[in-house]
Symmetry: C2
Subunit: 433 residues, 2 copies
Amino acid sequence: MLDFTHDPTATAWLDSANAPDTDFPLQNLPFGRIRRAASGEEWRIGVAIGDAVLDLRRALALGRWTSVEQVLLEPLAQGDLNVHMARPSAQRRQLRHALFEALRAGSPQAARLSAALVPQADVEHSLPARVGDYTDFYAGIHHAEAVGRLFRPDNPLLPNYKWVPIGYHGRASSLVVSGTPVRRPWGQRKGPQDEVPTFAPSLRVDHELELALWVGPGNALGEPIPLAQADEHLFGVGLLNDWSARDIQPWEYQPLGPFLAKNFASTVSPWIVTWEALAPFRCPQERPEGDPPSLAYLDSAANRSQGGLDIQLEVWLTPAGGRPSRIATSNARHLYWTAAQLLTHHASNGCNLQPGDLLGTGTISGPSPEQAGSLLELTQGGKQAIVLSDGQTRIFLQDGDELALRAHAERAGAKRIGWGACSGRVSPAVPAA
Amino acid sequence: MLDFTHDPTATAWLDSANAPDTDFPLQNLPFGRIRRAASGEEWRIGVAIGDAVLDLRRALALGRWTSVEQVLLEPLAQGDLNVHMARPSAQRRQLRHALFEALRAGSPQAARLSAALVPQADVEHSLPARVGDYTDFYAGIHHAEAVGRLFRPDNPLLPNYKWVPIGYHGRASSLVVSGTPVRRPWGQRKGPQDEVPTFAPSLRVDHELELALWVGPGNALGEPIPLAQADEHLFGVGLLNDWSARDIQPWEYQPLGPFLAKNFASTVSPWIVTWEALAPFRCPQERPEGDPPSLAYLDSAANRSQGGLDIQLEVWLTPAGGRPSRIATSNARHLYWTAAQLLTHHASNGCNLQPGDLLGTGTISGPSPEQAGSLLELTQGGKQAIVLSDGQTRIFLQDGDELALRAHAERAGAKRIGWGACSGRVSPAVPAA
C-alpha cells in the first residue's frame, strides 16, 4: 500500500514543512475544518503543511486542477469533510496524490497556491466533521487491567475481554475540538461511608488518552463489513481525550455503563491523519503468547501481521500559569484489538456505520506504570499524587489545568508525521443554583 | 396548562376524527414525516387527523394563515420537524392552536384544507426528525426488578436505582421508523457450559416496550436545565421498541453496558404526540411509601403531583400469516422517574441536549407478570413459553413475527388520544459468509 506519497526523501516548496521535527511534512497532509480566527468567514477544510494550512477553498479557486480533482475539492472548499469521507478510498487516494504533487518542491502550482496558505497560528478550528454517532471502545488492555486491578485485585480482566471487543456508545453532542474549555461537571456521588449520595461538582476530573478512528463510507443497516474490507471504511485517525469524572462513574454505572461521568465533554484533535498517510506505520498486532485466537470474523493473516499502529503518544499537564509536564508516554501498538477489528465487530450485527462516525479506541496505557493514559492509573486510584516539573502535585485535575495529548509516528525508512495537540483546560463548575 | 385545545366536546370537520375510538381526534394533532407512498415526492411534515393526514406542505399553500403561522409552517412544509422542535413552547402552542381552529368543525378553512388531506393508508413515513443523540434510560422499576431478580434473586434492585436515574447512550444511526423490517443480528454468545464463545445469529431476539421522549430546544454545553424548566424542553412522546438480543447481551455487557445486543435496530412510532396534547394525562409520580425523596435537583412539588403520564400501553405479536395476540398491557404511570427528571438529570452535568434528541424511558413493565414489557420477563428468562391466540407458543421472536406496540391515553373529562402502532417484523439473519 506504500506509494510515492510515502517517499521519505520528498520535500515541499514550503520550507517549514521540511523541518525534521515538524508534525506536518509533505507526507502527512491531515484534514481539519478551519477559518481565519474571528473573521466570521465560512468554514472550509484545510490541510496542515509545515507551520501553515492550505485553505482548500482558496486552493480550489487559485490552483490548476483536473476536472476530477475539482469535483473532489468542491465539498472540502465548502467545509464539508463528511462528503469526502463517504468517497471510495481510490478517490480519497487520488486527492492525496494531487495535493502531494501540488505542494511538492518544484510544483508549477507553488506560486498560485502560496496565496492559499494561512499560518496555523491564525486559524480557528471546529470539529473536523459532523459526528453522527460516537462509540468508545476499551481496547487498551493495560488500562483495562490496571483499572480492573483497582476493583478486583485477583481477577483484573473480565472473562470476555480477550474474545469480544468491549465498547459502548458515547455522546456525540458534547464532542468538542481541541482548545474548547471543559467545565467541571456536577454529579451524584456516594462514597462507601456515605449514607446517601450528594450532588456536587466532581472532585475527580480525569483525562483518558485515546485515538479517534474516523469512519469513511460505512455500511447499510443490516449489512456487516467483513474484516477484509475494513481498511476501505477507515478514513483516518485523530486524538481523543475522553474526560471522565471518577467520582460520578462508580455510583451511576451499574448495570448499564458510564453515562454522565463521561458525556460532559470529549475533546478531539483538530487534525485527522488519513489512513493512507499511516500506511508506513502499520505493525503486527500485539498479543501475548497463549492468548486465544480471534474468532474467524475478526481474524486474518493481514490483520495479525499489519493490523496494529505504531504511534507514539504523550500526555502533558500544564497548571494555570505554570509550565508543561509530560506525565505519560505510550504507544498505540499496545491496543489489544486493531482498528479493523473494532470497525468490523461494530458492524457485525448489522449496525450501520456512517461517514464521520467516530470510534474511540479506549485508553491506551502501556505495560509500565509511567505509560498510564489516565490519572486514575498514574495515581493508583487516587492514592499516590504525581509530582509536576515545577514541584506541584496532582491527584486529579484542578480548575485551570490544561491537559494536552500529543502523538507522532516515526519509523526507519519513513518520514516522521504528527498530530499536533489535542488540548483542553478545565474551567470551574457552574455555581450552585 | 389546559386550554381550549383540550376541550373534549370539540369536534373536527373530518368525520373520521370524531369516531369515539380514533387515536387521532382534533385534540391530538401529532406530527409525523410523510409523503405519498412510492411517489418520490419530497418529504413533508404531516399531522394525523382521524383516518387522514393533514399534509402541511399543501396546507401552507392552500390555507389562509397569519404571517406568524406561515413562518411556523414553513420548515414543516419542507419536512423539517427539528426546526419546529427548537422553537419556544409558546410558539409550538401557537401553531397547535392554529391547526386546531383550522380543523375544527365549522372552520372557514375546511373546504381549502380538505384538499391537503391524504388518507393515512396512502402515506409512507420516515423517522419524524433527525436524531442527534439517542439515550436510553432504565426508569421502569418493575422491569429493573424483574430482570434483576433473574440474576440476583435476593437483591434485584441495585443500591443506586432509587437515587440516580440509570441511563446509557444508544445508537442513533440504527433508529428506524415503524414498518421497517428488523434483521436478526449475528453476535457472540457464550453459555455457562460453553468453553469458548461462538459467533452466530441470535436465538433470543426480544422486544422492549418503551416511550420515546423527544427533546425540544435543549441546552448549551455546560448549562444544566433546572427541573422547573424541563417542560419547556419536552417536545413530545412517541413509542419505542428497543429490540434486544438476549444471548448477545450477557456476554458483551460487562463492564461498559449493552452494545451490539441493542444497536442492530430500535423502532420508533411514526407519530409524535406533543407535550401540549398530553396535558390532560399528567398524573402524580408513582412512588412506593418509604422510598427516598429525590435529591433537590430532581425534586419539586409539581413533579410529584403531576410529573407522571397516564398512558395505557399494549404489546401485540403476530406470527407470519397468523393473527395478532395481545401479549402484555402496561401503563406509563409505572415509571419510577418522570420525563422531567430524566431530562434534567441528563443535562445536570452540562451535557447538551439538542432538538430531536430522543430519550427512551426504559422498558415499562407493570407490577403484575402479564404487564411485562419484554419476552425475557414474560417467559421468566426464557424458561416458560407464552401461548398465542392461535395456539402457537413463543419464548423469543421467530423470523416473520411482527411485534407492535400500541398506546392511548384516556381519562374522565378528556378526549381519548392515541399513537397508532409502532411495529416491526423480524427478518432472517444475513446468510453466513
